[in-house]
Point group: C2
């Protein structure tokens, strides 16, 4: 977690901070690869091909990308993060080639189950946020991520139905608001609420369909950002619980001891699921 | 969240599932970019340069990479995810060139504060997991991620001290066990426990040092995985609370309604921070 940029830059006199990295330039000569030629290239520390955030964002058609997100979920069981990311960046690769087609897409498979079953960030959300981050820095990505994540907390999901193309379960599935961007909460709330097993085909199908919903919303945001540029703000306002808690628990307030933009309510409003399960299990 | 692979593959008769994606191959002809030549290349759906998980992992020296993780955190304020990831993949780029030097490193900046302040997965942990995922599929990454994440939950952090090279705060910082892989919990527990502001230079410095600790542990795991191959298992056992809860709440058990490998104790053992703050705030 970074301190506030102004606080950081203002708070320390003689320390070198922020973007100043004088003396860190460590370049190494290396032999060229692939061609076998005695090519010598230099890679300078913290540099990258084309410069930071240098890829050009491209508008996409959410309807065209929807089945790609779904199929990407099932492709080698690469799951949610891969499906959402490929439906954006992979589609740019198919349409425009480089640099999009140079990306090692399979790395997104790690996002399954909130990072290989750990239940942290919903992989579909991470895949979409990672796609945004190829094109815009954190300041510009922030309203895009806020819009996507707040929509996810409150939307009734899943919406998408692949019909007869369904891979794990054919037919309608019940929908609810995940309430949280965390996979553990999102999955468990759906399973508990609708009496589904976490290792069921229905849950897998739910997450595949939800990956499409996230892709669709992310592409709407991407297209709006391309159209509006720095003016892009998003439509969702800060969650009521976050407004209430941040009245004291935020920078410059009485008790600046926490950081989060997640809705506070699921974990801090007396949810019975968060009682003492070890000594008072129902 | 994926259902169990066996359950998925076994549970449905006629549905096409899993890795079988017949009919999805959608390749598009495109004009070559950059050179201006009338080159025509084809990018096949769900393909990638060199194939999935095809990058070669390289052993690294954690001591050499430590100051790079620290400096990477501060480089353009790119923060934890960038610092941890660059200290691994960026160092491979500096030493070995392609394909590592083709990666758009700045995309990892999105992990700051658990994804631009949302407080989900600790960005340093994500950066390390993402590096693993360039080289190994989910089955092989799983024990690596488990080892790193369980170590993080229980280790006293931060350990690293850059001495006079400190960027935001010079001198020792207090250490505790984050208890959770979630940024919100990790940051808030440290700030609450040591009476530090979340927007302080000390907290920023703590997270920069912790990024080094994560890099160091991740490189130990990387090197061990390279040495041991598929035999790599890691040393940390499943957390006691996870063992207890999974006796009922897991696949094939009485109440298979949740998914997570996070330690259950911080949120499900009567932590007073998780009471009803909206109606019974202290």
């Amino acid at each position: 977690m970074l301190p506030d940029r102004r606080a950081l830059l203002g708070g320390l006199g003689g320390l070198a901070i922020g973007g100043a990295v004088a003396g860190l330039t460590g370049s190494l000569a290396r032999a060229g690869t692939g061609s076998g030629a005695a090519e010598t290239r230099r890679f300078t520390r913290f540099s990258q091909q084309g410069g930071d955030f240098s890829w050009t964002p491209r508008k996409l058609d959410p309807d065209e990308c929807a089945p790609v997100a779904y199929d990407g979920f099932w492709h080698n069981l690469n799951a949610c993060g891969y499906g959402a990311f490929y439906s954006i960046v992979g589609m740019m690769a198919e349409k425009y080639g480089a640099p999009y087609d140079q990306f090692p897409f399979s790395m997104l498979a790690v996002n399954e189950g909130g990072i290989i079953g750990w239940g942290t960030i919903c992989g579909a959300l991470y895949g979409a946020a990672a796609a945004f981050a190829l094109f815009w820095n954190r300041e510009e990505c922030s309203p895009m991520v806020n819009e996507l994540f707040r929509w996810y907390e409150s939307a009734q999901l899943p919406v998408y139905d692949p019909g007869s193309a369904a891979r794990a379960f054919v037919g309608p599935l019940p929908a609810n608001a995940p309430g949280s961007v965390l996979c553990h909460v999102s999955v468990s709330k759906w399973c508990h609420g609708f009496n589904k097993k976490a290792d069921s085909n229905e849950l897998g199908e739910r997450c595949a369909r939800l990956t499409v919903d996230v892709s669709r919303k992310a592409i709407e945001i991407l297209n709006a950002k391309i159209a509006q540029g720095k003016a892009y703000k998003g439509a969702f306002s800060v969650q009521a619980a976050v407004v209430q808690c941040a009245a004291c628990h935020a920078a410059g307030k009485e008790s600046d001891i926490q950081k989060s933009k997640m809705d506070c309510a699921p974990c801090h409003s007396g949810n019975p699921h968060l009682g003492d399960k070890f000594r008072k299990h129902p």
